[in-house]
């Protein structure tokens, strides 16, 4: 099914993506329009939804299971929206190729565009959330503007690269096997508990931490906790580790996607 001996003259991927940037832009706008048209609260819904979960978690872990941490709410919101972004992009990736099946069969465009558009439309929502989180942290938690916030664009960039890297193989496999859609909620729920979303990394026993960091989301969340909650500068090791993880994940993920993308277009 893959282009065995077949040939098609194509520009290198970055050039192709640049050529289709207009389509990417339109897809992102379309996503947001479809989601928020005819809703009175519009984008506010993306905030209300996770805020409700945050409220529940804060109540539980401040009053019931007491996690000893100053301003637990501040700790939680520093990482929660990052987790939420990852979770939403992963879910979206399992349906995106099939949703655009008829489109893919009637015009050519690099299917990578679909993955990127899904992550970027979620990024727009995330940016809105993170701005509010920053304001809340500066006003009620730090009572100052920590210089570490300057790192935020970089680590949000890493977050997107990591998410895209995970979306690539997931999207490809989801076209071939419908099981992915059924299995993903279980994986996401487990991932939520084995990632430092509602508890700090320090609560994991020191001996277990090297294994714990095998989960690619851990380093990223730790980075956000350091920069947003602690208002400090992360160690070079942590920053380098997360960068390497994100880039390698993205390269490997895209490698898998590239191998199946042609059959995906035909099957989806």
């Amino acid at each position: 099914m893959r282009g065995g001996g077949g040939q098609m003259k194509r520009a290198p991927m970055p050039v192709e993506l640049w050529r289709f940037r207009g389509l990417l832009r339109s897809l992102v706008i379309r996503d947001l329009r479809v989601k928020y048209q005819r809703s009175l609260l519009g984008l506010i819904w993306t905030l209300l939804n996770p805020l409700f979960t945050v409220a529940v978690l804060v109540t539980v872990f401040t009053y019931v299971i007491r996690i000893q941490i100053v301003h637990y709410w501040a700790f939680l919101i520093s990482g929660f929206f990052v987790w939420n972004f990852i979770q939403r992009t992963l879910y979206h990736s399992t349906t995106i190729l099939r949703d655009h099946a008829s489109l893919s069969r009637s015009v050519y465009y690099p299917p990578e565009i679909l993955i990127l558009s899904a992550s970027l439309s979620k990024l727009v929502e995330f940016l809105l959330e993170i701005v509010i989180v920053m304001i809340a942290l500066v006003v009620f938690h730090h009572h100052a503007i920590p210089s570490s916030l300057a790192l935020l664009p970089l680590i949000v960039g890493l977050q997107v690269i990591l998410a895209v890297g995970l979306m690539f193989p997931l999207a490809a496999i989801a076209v071939l096997y419908y099981d992915v859609q059924h299995a993903l909620p279980i994986v996401i729920t487990s991932l939520f508990y084995i990632s430092p979303v509602f508890y700090p990394v320090e609560m994991i026993p020191v001996e277990a931490q090297p294994f714990y960091y095998l989960n690619p989301v851990v380093g990223l969340l730790r980075l956000f906790h350091v920069v947003l909650y602690e208002g400090g500068w992360p160690s070079a090791t942590l920053l380098a580790g997360v960068s390497v993880t994100a880039i390698v994940t993205c390269a490997v993920g895209h490698g898998i996607f590239k191998r199946c993308k042609e059959s995906c277009v035909e099957i989806a």
Binding site: G6, Y177, Y178
Partner: protein
């Protein structure tokens, strides 16, 4: 050549995968379900070629190969210039959005930049002739209106190569006339066209050459009148 495979396990599930792996049975036993074989077509600049033949003959597959949507199993496809393919009318339309909002995405799909789209916006809307429906959600459109809107984007893209798959069958008489006029004008300006159609009149009118595809094989290729006559005689 383009092969499509029929996989022996059409119900793809992990359970099956585990069982097959455990029993060491091959997972993908496949045989070619449909193939377009020995398809060889050279279309010169400004030429218009028709692909005719029965359903399932390979016409749309050929068109998709030219458009770059499918990658050939073997062989090569070479094109130069901007391609606009209208294979499924209104593919990519979101029915909850208005016609105008959909134009934004559809224009991008067809390869129009934002400035080009806003330049040609009036012309596209006028050509579609759907009046104030342009600001209504597409779900309230009739199927003819969807087709008109999609088609009027396609003909306003001004591509170098235009690929049309049975899209002229839509719309009423007057809209069809308008489309044909536009396509004739294109031809005279040197636009290359490959047209799939079951309408012999349209084929005769637009194209100089025709290829008759049947069961994935080229039955005949040549001057449009001859191929059409042979096809008609062959199917009778």
């Amino acid at each position: 050549m383009k092969n499509f495979y029929l996989y022996s396990h059409r119900t793809t599930s992990l359970r099956e995968w585990f069982i097959r792996t455990a029993l060491r049975r091959p997972i993908t036993v496949r045989r070619a379900e449909f193939s377009l074989r020995g398809f060889n077509l050279r279309v010169g600049r400004g030429e218009a070629v028709a692909l005719i033949g029965p359903n399932g003959g390979g016409k749309s597959t050929a068109l998709r190969l030219i458009a770059g949507i499918y990658t050939p199993t073997s062989g090569t496809v070479e094109t130069s210039g901007r391609i606009a393919a209208v294979i499924e009318l209104g593919a990519g339309f979101n029915t909850d959005l208005t016609g105008a909002e959909n134009l934004d995405l559809y224009g991008a799909i067809m390869g129009l930049s934002r400035s080009q789209l806003s330049q040609r916006y009036r012309e596209i809307v006028e050509f579609a002739g759907i009046g104030e429906f342009i600001d209504m959600p597409v779900k309230y459109y009739s199927s003819g209106m969807v087709a008109r809107l999609a088609f009027s984007v396609a003909v306003n893209v001004e591509p170098d190569i235009l690929l049309l798959d049975e899209v002229l069958a839509v719309g009423d008489q007057s809209f069809q006339e308008k489309c044909l006029d536009r396509l004739r004008a294109y031809r005279s300006r040197g636009c290359t066209m490959v047209v799939v159609s079951h309408n012999a009149d349209i084929v005769r009118e637009l194209c100089s050459r025709a290829v008759w595809l049947d069961g994935g094989e080229t039955r005949m290729e040549g001057e449009v009148g001859k191929v059409l006559d042979a096809y008609r005689a062959g199917t009778r």
